[in-house]
């Protein structure tokens, strides 16, 4: 009980956890948006072909980007962003959002590509045959179905990302994990703060899992597509 008080009550420390959680969620939310955008663009670049069916230069750019991101640790990507590429920036959250957005984009690109490949390719041909541009067919026919097919995997990616942001302490951002760590080094009693943070992550992720589950079920019942 004493430990609990020290970890959460003294000096209104519970507020710190909520601020930490706020930082975590802020980073996750914006990097998800960035990741989805980059991922979609990157996926289209990856799949782009010239008139005679050969990959374009955009394809090679996309493939290289995906390769590099997937082949390096995300902590390093964050550090490189913070200390090298964006060292002029003082806005740590922004740097984290950009770093995680770029990271997530590579995974999202592959997830959406999987979603597109699971769609009956005849629909693209039908669009071509009607004289629609590939962009129009993608925008109105293929991508909506691809996102729907990829939704469960995209939700997984969101949750992975949420947990991955626990490394932002490396660039001195006070997210939930860092706050817990700070409190425990202040009180010399790591049990409560660390377990407390773990419980908060767990509960948040549980809530998202349930929400996503409902969303998926609703979309599936929507017999339509």
């Amino acid at each position: 009980m004493e430990q609990f008080t020290a970890a959460f009550i003294t000096e209104d420390r519970w507020k710190l956890y909520f601020q930490g959680l706020g930082t975590t969620m802020e980073i996750v939310l914006f990097s998800t948006i960035l990741g989805l955008t980059l991922g979609t663009i990157c996926c289209l670049m990856n799949m782009s072909t010239t008139k005679n069916g050969r990959p374009t230069v955009f394809h090679y750019i996309a493939v290289t980007y995906i390769d590099i991101i997937r082949g390096t640790p995300s902590v390093l990507q964050l550090l490189i962003m913070w200390f090298i590429i964006l060292r002029a920036s003082t806005n740590g959250v922004l740097v984290a959002v950009i770093s995680f957005g770029i990271n997530s984009g590579a995974y999202v690109a592959e997830i959406i590509r999987g979603g597109i490949q699971s769609i009956n390719k005849g629909q693209i041909e039908a669009g071509d045959a009607l004289g629609l541009s590939r962009f129009t067919t993608m925008r109105y026919v293929i991508l909506p179905q691809a996102f729907k097919n990829a939704l469960p995997t995209l939700c997984n990616e969101f949750i992975t990302l949420l947990k991955e942001t626990a490394i932002v302490g490396y660039v001195s951002l006070a997210d939930l994990t860092r706050v817990a760590n700070q409190v425990s080094s202040r009180t010399y009693q790591p049990f409560m703060p660390l377990i407390g943070a773990a419980v908060i992550y767990f509960v948040i992720i549980k809530i998202f899992t349930i929400l996503f589950g409902n969303l998926e079920r609703r979309l599936r019942q929507d017999a339509t597509c």
Partner: protein, 240 residues
């Protein structure tokens, strides 16, 4: 109307089309017959450049499709195509399937396209399905919708690749009826099919393909009663 000159198509090492020339005049209904693997689908798909030919030239009226500078989009808007597996847009309602192309290619205003779509759906007896999704329709219904989806672009020619061979037997008739009606209305058509009745009754000319060539070409009456090419005789003896 449609002119093909020495069309060739190779996939890797295999030459599927070895030099096809033909001319389709206004008002003609061409039926393409031939054994499996003879290149019928490949030929049809080259006509609207879904497959890029490896050689030869194709003209739609005075536009050369095989010219690199031709905008394929605008040419394809004048050529409808109906596929074996319908290929309706699964995330869109029947109505949206039909109006997507006319609206997005700026051919029509949305209201105008909807009106046209409804009248087309009435013509095939499916006006009540406008708000349904493709998966809620039978195969025959889907294929009829696929036909009117192409018609909504007011094409000059319609290409059909075995439009009834993925259908249950009891649904073949309803699709052939729509196609026959379309032929009667004067549409130019190129149809790959195994429906000999349709070929006999509707075709103005039959092309018989074998081994990547058109080996026989005749009006239906002479084609079925006096086939000249031995491969063609063999094919007909198996089918009839």
């Amino acid at each position: 109307m449609l002119r093909v000159e020495n069309l060739k198509k190779t996939y890797g090492e295999t030459e599927v089309l070895k030099g096809i020339s033909c001319e389709i005049k206004d008002g003609e209904k061409i039926v393409v017959l031939g054994p499996s693997g003879s290149g019928k689908s490949t030929f049809l798909r080259c006509l609207n450049m879904l497959e890029a030919p490896s050689g030869g030239k194709i003209w739609l009226n005075d536009r050369e499709l095989t010219d690199e500078n031709t905008d394929l989009g605008t040419v394809r808007q004048q050529m409808g195509m109906v596929f074996q597996h319908f290929n309706l847009f699964e995330n869109l309602t029947i109505m949206d399937n039909i109006i997507l192309a006319p609206v997005k290619t700026k051919k029509m205003k949305k209201a105008e396209a909807k009106e046209l779509a409804l009248s087309l759906l009435k013509r095939i007896g499916l006006a009540d399905k406008a708000d349904a999704y493709p998966s809620q329709l039978s195969g025959g219904q889907q294929q009829r919708v696929a036909i009117v989806r192409s018609l909504a672009m007011k094409p000059k020619v319609m290409l059909f690749d075995e439009p009834t061979s993925a259908l249950d037997p009891e649904m073949v008739g309803e699709v052939l009826d729509v196609m026959t009606e379309l032929a009667d209305s004067g549409m130019n058509m190129v149809v790959v099919t195994h429906e000999m009745g349709f070929a006999k009754n509707v075709a103005s000319r039959i092309l018989f393909m074998d081994g990547g060539y058109i080996v026989e070409e005749n009006d239906p009456e002479n084609f079925f009663s006096h086939p000249k090419n031995p491969r063609c005789r063999e094919f007909l003896s198996k089918i009839l």
